[in-house]
Point group: C2
Chain length 408, copies 2
Amino acid sequence: MTPFLQLTLALAIMISLAKLGGYLSFRLGQAAVLGELLVGIVLGPSILDFLHLSIFTDQHLHEVIQELAELGVMLLMFLAGLELHISELIKSSKVAILAGVLGVVFPLGLGAIGGALFALAPKNALFLGLTLAATSVSISAQTLMELNRLRSKIGFGLLGAAVFDDVLVVLGLSAFTALVTPSVGETSNAGMVFAVILRMTLFLVISSVVGYFILPSLTKTIFSLEISQGLIAFVFVTVLLFGWLADTLGKMAAITGAFLAGLWFGRTTYRERILNGISIIAYGIFVPIFFVDVGLNADIKTLFGGNFGLFLGLFLIAILGKVIGCGLGALLSGYSPLEALQLGVGMMSRGEVGLIVASVGISEGYLTTASFSAIVGVVIATTLLTPPLLRSLIQRESVIREKLAESE
Amino acid sequence: MTPFLQLTLALAIMISLAKLGGYLSFRLGQAAVLGELLVGIVLGPSILDFLHLSIFTDQHLHEVIQELAELGVMLLMFLAGLELHISELIKSSKVAILAGVLGVVFPLGLGAIGGALFALAPKNALFLGLTLAATSVSISAQTLMELNRLRSKIGFGLLGAAVFDDVLVVLGLSAFTALVTPSVGETSNAGMVFAVILRMTLFLVISSVVGYFILPSLTKTIFSLEISQGLIAFVFVTVLLFGWLADTLGKMAAITGAFLAGLWFGRTTYRERILNGISIIAYGIFVPIFFVDVGLNADIKTLFGGNFGLFLGLFLIAILGKVIGCGLGALLSGYSPLEALQLGVGMMSRGEVGLIVASVGISEGYLTTASFSAIVGVVIATTLLTPPLLRSLIQRESVIREKLAESE
């Protein structure tokens, strides 16, 4: 079989089983995304390891699937941005800042303390904390979208805090690297941090100027031209470029760029058309690939390996750090305790940014392979735990509301 | 830059320039597909060779783009199938068979004679003819779709003949291999050809049974379930599986499988929804990648290399073989001379099947590298020539019709 035929077969299996798993999960009263993630776990190295069946001989097959999955999570974050209104998001800036900052500070601090308890050197303990600080809201955003609750206090708080989270973790990583790298002079280290701040600012300014001044009129012009699916092609290209620029210029995550692109397109009069078209592309093809691919990169056997204690410790820190940190930020912003808990749980799941930071850690020697495996376990466990937990907390809220309505 | 970021940048450049080129081409009174193909030529090794710029360091970048392009041509052929009605296509079976068969016989014969004139051994001359026999109708189908003329005598004849063309070339290749391979006994060679016929029949029977009996009710069931974009995901998976089965079981081209999938979905009551959804995916993302990728695989400099005479000879044979062969078949089926010419020109363009046959030829030693380069040149030249020529012939018909209407 040619590499292309292997790809068609692998994608057909992944997409059809993802949709089947999502549907069964939905019928069982769970978020569809949970079922899609579980299909990935079953197909992945944890159980079947299907990409290593003898029919799949192409060495690059998983790389290609991975790239399609990354396009999927970008489109997912774009849709999350499209559903939110910038003005409403700005109104939630207080909770975004407080939950974003405290949601980084707590896992960082608790992780460092935990690392110290596991007898790590201070430098390495601090890095371990940093690894646990990076949240990944794509799964929570999807869960909220399924419940039709993305445009709620929780949704705005979640996505707003996620942007600050990304900014802070990138700053933290560069500050850490600057501080521990043997320097030629003090200015060069401060200069490194300054350069990262400058790049981020530059990206945010450029993307905002493009998004505010250029996108609305350009979208209108392109829509009026006789180009087959010109609007959708334009949106797709813009998502790619925003993601690319976020990473290469801003040193931030590509998905943050895609999310910002969604925010800006949400202001245009073509929002509904874009939502319709990109939803077809995202949920028809790319997003199921992403959810299954999460499982293809995970091996739950690592959870039960020799370092179960380490995994369990980091897992508790990861959960408590976010629930306490983000929850406290939400409470300080006037959220009710239940809302604060919902936000904290929504911020709990970890993903690619955490793994990227962890990869830096292992290549620079700040993390041991045991810690790395435990972090992979944390990513899997928090990812699988978030959708059902968030869903049940939101349904509990509905129950309370109904009771209140009855008692009135 | 990570491989993924390189991919996002390359795709953003390819899709945006393809759409721009297509629009300019349309405004200049040409088929949009011509502009998209020319953008590919400019970006490709002929001029800029942009994938080999120093920013693109990923060795597998072109492979990934190639696979996305192959998905694009599958979706394109699926849409062509979706636009045609099976019943109407069956009514055109006479022209499909005659134009299909004669459109293979003439290039094969003329190619063999031409090869003999270039002093090739009989075996190699015959193989050269076989290489020139494989048509590729995706570009013509796109041109007709743009002119809103796919559902016309020309469209039905074109797509019907293309299926027979694919069948005959595959049979021809296996017969050739069987005849020239030193055999252990006569039965084993006849057995090889028989096995190919059996596989083809098996694929056509299985796909027809699935398409006729299973797809309509399964489509209805899936549409009724609460699955996000379940219908589109199901169609996409089916296209992948039909393409995969066509190739692995039927030994035919994957695009023939995708075309058949389109025919079957065209019978369902969800045809319009599917057309809308897959058009967004195809023209918003994958099809522009395919058109540009044609250029990324072509180097027009080979046309003007040392073997310009050989290229010119094969080019003439390629054009005349199809125009005479398919045209004759159309005339025998009652088409007017202008219609016969349109069909012949529509069948003229060559593509991936011809290149696959040529690759077999070069690896088995039936073709020299000089012949192979000339065939690549023929693929480029016929691909670029077909859209403007077909368009002008169809517009000529419109002019004649208008004059007839005036004189009535």
